[in-house]
């Protein structure tokens, strides 16, 4: 039912803003790697992990150490950083354990303190200068997309992000492990009564979530650069993503990440001065209209 005028305007808009839209997707996918773990951990354990941003940053630094300082390949860097993230998650689980019974605000406070400590530890090891990881050599070029140049690395991030979203979705929706996870979100005691060690499931999800955050730190490093403060920046963005998408929902994290990615990119392109407000405005509107988020259930 599009009128000719609209039909003509749409490709024009797309043409002008293609790069912005692509970029919004790349940024969104980066945010997704952060947000999905944050959201899953909250859904399963009722823990808002405010140290998630610090783990993102540390993941990036670890990969920087491996790739830039030690001269190893990207693959090794990613592997070490992801392993680091997983171990950090296990450690976090151990640290949270003694205060599990105290309710989620005390747990949020503890992770808040951890974020403070981790961020400072990062400056001890890697300084307060910004560090950056060069993108893999074969991605250090621009690709022509519909007549416009676009960095190959960002396309790769986008691809990896989408692939990750699909994998996470499939694992959670289609596998036995995912079924355990979904069941545990719904009724932890009943899962336990079926003979499944729920404590171990929660640890695994923590480790997975933090490993994803660390992975996000690695693939984000060539785009964002690593420096103190990046941790809080991404954490706040990821929080907004999951508030918009709905706490505990994977499709929610995905859609929220895309929305925030576009606000960050297309928003700046169209209304540069209002972009920061659009970010928070989106969140405030969602909370006012649908307090449980777009995909939240409560």
């Amino acid at each position: 039912m599009t009128t000719p005028a609209v039909g003509a305007a749409l490709p024009g808009f797309l043409n002008e803003n293609l790069v912005s839209i692509l970029n919004g997707l790349a940024v969104g996918m980066l945010l997704f790697t952060m947000a999905v773990g944050l959201s899953l951990i909250f859904g399963l354990m009722d823990v808002l992990n405010l140290a998630h941003g610090a783990i993102f940053l540390l993941g990036g630094y670890v990969a920087y150490q491996v790739i830039v300082k030690e001269g190893q390949s990207w693959l090794v860097g990613v592997a070490v950083a992801v392993a680091f993230g997983a171990v950090a998650g296990l450690a976090l689980g151990g640290i949270l354990r003694p205060i599990r019974h105290r309710g989620h605000l005390d747990q949020a406070l503890l992770t808040f303190g951890l974020a403070f400590v981790l961020a400072d530890l990062a400056t001890i090891f890697w300084g307060s200068d910004f560090q950056s990881i060069p993108s893999p050599v074969f991605l250090q070029r621009s690709v022509e997309v519909l007549g416009q140049f676009y960095p190959a690395y960002r396309l790769a991030v986008m691809g990896v992000g989408f692939a990750l979203a699909v994998v996470v979705y499939l694992v959670v929706e289609r596998t036995q492990v995912g079924a355990v996870l979904r069941a545990a979100v719904e009724d932890r005691a009943m899962v336990s009564a079926l003979g499944i060690n729920v404590g171990r499931v929660m640890l695994a999800v923590l480790a997975l979530g933090t490993a994803l955050a660390a992975f996000g730190g690695v693939i984000g490093a060539p785009i964002l650069s690593l420096s103190p403060g990046v941790d809080a920046e991404v954490l706040i963005l990821a929080l907004i993503v999951i508030v918009i998408g709905g706490l505990g929902s994977i499709p929610g994290a995905f859609v929220g990440a895309i929305v925030i990615g576009q606000v960050q990119s297309l928003g700046i392109a169209l209304v540069p001065q209002a972009a920061p407000f659009a970010l928070f405005g989106a969140m405030v509107i969602v909370l006012a209209v649908r307090p449980e988020g777009l995909f939240g259930s409560r």
């Binding site: 002008e16 803003n17 790069v19 912005s20 970029n23 940024v27 400056t123 001890i124 090891f125 890697w126 300084g127 307060s128 200068d129 910004f130 560090q131 950056s132 060069p134 250090q140 621009s142 416009q148 140049f149 676009y150 960095p151 690395y153 960002r154 785009i223 964002l224 650069s225 420096s227 103190p228 403060g229 920046e233 960050q264 990119s265 297309l266 700046i268 392109a269 540069p272 001065q273 972009a275 920061p276």
Partner: protein
């Protein structure tokens, strides 16, 4: 310009800070060994108390460290004295925050009772401190922060500059840009805060005076942009002949890299102020910075006797790598103070006389060339140099290309 960053790793800074602390924490430690101790006692018994208000932590931490290293290098070259007087350092970290800086300034002045304060990295810190030093009547030698207004409407008889103003940085590139890069349809890009606007105003001023025409300007928000793609798209669709840009630190890394990644570098030449400076920024940019020209008040390759000595002493004291331009302005600040003190035999007991000596210190040779303090603005008149980012001897460097000439701030 005020927010660039450096190469140093945290560990290196800690190590150096340790060394510097050893140097500074013991009051009146004879910095230059025994011979100086015996000689200096004559003139004034009390050592000169120098407060250093620096940004030593946070993203600008390495700038403060470099300023201080340059300052200490001069002091060591000069027999651990300034104006013949023994000196005592009191260092405070303002973390780049104006409010912290005010508190630390209060501490230096009222608790440490310093005679003079040097340092100050970010412009906003300098602006915040202006009234404090003006009403406390304590001389301040700004060795980095470049906000124009401190030389113009907000000038103070107590505030001197050893570096430059933002205007001068931009202005130094205008004529060269017109002659060598492009004459019209030139685009500018800088963050939307005072340093960005002032540098661009300087550039536009001299560029237009030379006959150039500006095609457009973008000012992305400062400090909140992680991705310059929307602005790059805007520049690209305007099809300019060349771009003159200024971004500090992390923003410079992102801007220059994205400029290359989004394919602008293939067709639109990029030059500017500080966008490939200092070394860590350039290292992070790598090939994206290839060929980018920037102006600076100093370059390691400058062939003069003072520079040779500066480099040698710096190497002896700190070992690794060559100094940054911030080390050079730190060095300038120490020399400026030394020259003024010499003219009054190191006697600061009469403040009016000391201020007058500072104001009229005149012209002297520095590692960065001829340096004149303009008595009208208490701001230097000095040379700027064009440098270009290149890969040489296995590393990325800003190589000296030419002398851009001497520049001054017009003042009020």
């Amino acid at each position: 310009m005020d927010e660039p960053e450096t190469t140093l790793t945290r560990r290196a800074i800690l190590k150096r800070a340790g060394a510097a602390a050893a140097l500074m924490s013991v009051p009146a430690l004879p910095l230059g060994r025994l011979e100086d101790v015996a000689w200096g006692a004559a003139r004034q018994s009390r050592p000169l108390r120098i407060g250093q208000l620096l940004t030593l932590s946070g993203p600008l931490g390495s700038v403060g460290a470099d300023l201080q290293k340059g300052f200490v290098t001069y002091v060591r070259q000069n027999g651990s004295r300034l104006g013949g007087r023994k000196i005592q350092f009191f260092v405070e970290d303002d973390a780049g925050d104006p409010r912290t800086a005010l508190q630390k300034a209060e501490k230096l002045v009222s608790e440490r009772e310093v005679d003079i304060v040097t340092g100050v990295v970010p412009s906003n810190v300098a602006i915040a401190l202006r009234d404090f030093f003006h009403s406390a009547k304590v001389p301040l030698i700004i060795s980095q922060a470049a906000a124009d207004e401190l030389t113009r409407g907000e000038s103070s008889p107590y505030i001197f500059r050893a570096a430059y103003t933002n205007y001068m940085i931009g202005a130094s590139m205008g004529r060269w840009f017109y002659r060598n890069i492009a004459k019209d349809r030139v685009f500018t890009a800088a963050p939307n805060y005072s340093a960005g606007q002032e540098i661009m105003a300087g550039f536009v001023d001299t560029f237009q005076k030379a006959g150039g025409k500006i095609g457009g300007q973008v000012f992305p928000p400062f400090g909140t942009v992680t991705d310059y793609q929307p602005f790059l798209s805007q520049i690209q669709s305007a099809r300019p002949s060349a771009v003159f840009a200024f971004f500090p630190g992390a923003e410079a890394i992102r801007f220059v890299r994205q400029y290359s990644e989004f394919g602008l570098k293939r067709s639109i030449p990029l030059h500017g102020a500080f966008i490939t400076d200092p070394a860590p920024v350039l290292n992070a940019q790598g090939s994206a910075a290839q060929g980018v020209g920037t102006s600076a008040i100093w370059a390691a390759e400058l062939k003069n006797q003072r520079n040779t000595r500066f480099l040698a002493t710096y190497e002896r004291l700190y070992g690794t790598g060559e100094p940054s331009t911030f080390a050079a302005t730190g060095h300038n600040a120490a020399q400026l103070l030394d020259e003024a003190l010499k003219s009054i035999q190191g006697d600061t007991s009469n403040k009016a006389r000391f201020l007058k000596a500072m104001k009229n210190v005149g012209t002297f040779q520095t590692p960065s060339g001829i340096f004149t303090l303009d008595p009208k603005t208490q701001n230097p008149i000095r040379n700027f140099y064009l440098r270009q980012a290149r890969f040489e001897n296995g590393k990325w460097q800003n190589k000296l290309l030419s002398n851009l000439g001497s520049f001054r701030d017009p003042g009020k």
